[in-house]
């Protein structure tokens, strides 16, 4: 099963919708609750990064019998130093975004901890691509 979402940068009112939809869909299958929670955390953080840091993006989720594979692609400023971005506490979030409770610099580390495979690639000035796999 395939699910596709468009994500708009800066739109904090719709934020979290894609990850919620995927979680609701997965709930209908017989997936252990711990696995469901991992997927929810990883997808939410990935979705919020597009909303908080990029201009626009897409989420494509592939639900297979053995797991879920998700590709997030965005147009945006991209990430100069991926290793640094992956460090806990590193954040370039604006003051406005921080006031809403984002910007702890925990999103990418949360994705790493809650996925079985994570591939982050980026071209500065163009955009970012994130692949997440969680096995059931």
């Amino acid at each position: 099963m395939r699910m596709h979402f468009e994500i708009e940068g800066g739109d904090f009112t719709a934020a979290g919708r894609a990850s919620s939809e995927v979680k609701k869909t997965l709930k209908q299958f017989n997936i252990p609750p711990e696995v469901l929670r991992k997927v929810a955390i990883a997808l939410y953080e990935a979705e919020m990064n597009v909303v908080a840091h990029a201009w626009s993006g897409t989420m494509d989720a592939d639900i297979l019998p053995e797991g879920i594979h998700v590709v997030m692609e965005d147009k945006g400023p991209g990430i100069e130093d991926i290793e640094r971005a992956m460090e806990e506490g590193f954040s370039t979030a604006t003051e406005e975004v921080r006031q809403m409770g984002f910007g702890a610099g925990m999103g990418l580390p949360n994705i790493r901890k809650n996925s079985d495979r994570m591939v982050l690639t980026s071209t500065p000035g163009v955009g970012t691509r994130l692949e997440i796999t969680v096995a059931f």
């Binding site: 979290g16 929810a40 955390i41 939410y44 809403m100 409770g101 984002f102 610099g105 925990m106 999103g107």
Partner: protein, 116 residues
């Protein structure tokens, strides 16, 4: 032992702003943070979440993490639009008249007593 949200709310004097229908939820422990991805990473399902954040995004976090309730501190006003969204997502929002430190202290003592 576990307690439920309704009991806790009545005993500690919180008010319910959204999710009346779900007050029978069991709850165990609480997490205090105003950073959403900190809550995403560290809170556990069933916990209460004490926060000063009132932005709409708290609803998605509570729902995705299956938290038992959000406790907004300092009697902070929550927009009707956020409360409506909470109802839709089956999220309980309670209001505490006290600051975060006092709210957490009350809860800590209460949950410990319940455990004994």
């Amino acid at each position: 032992m576990k307690t439920n949200v309704r009991q806790l709310m009545q005993e500690l004097g919180f008010t319910c702003l959204a999710g009346e229908a779900y007050l029978d939820r069991h709850t165990e422990g609480a997490y205090l943070s105003d950073l959403l991805s900190d809550v995403m990473g560290k809170a556990e399902a069933g916990m209460l979440w004490i926060t000063a954040q009132v932005h709409r995004n708290i609803v998605a976090v509570a729902s995705l993490k299956e938290l038992s309730a959000i406790i907004v501190v300092n009697e902070r006003q929550v927009e009707p639009e956020v409360l409506a969204h909470a109802e839709e997502e089956e999220v309980v929002i309670l209001s505490s008249g006290k600051p975060a430190f006092e709210t957490a202290g009350m809860l800590y003592n209460h949950l410990r007593e319940v455990e004994c």
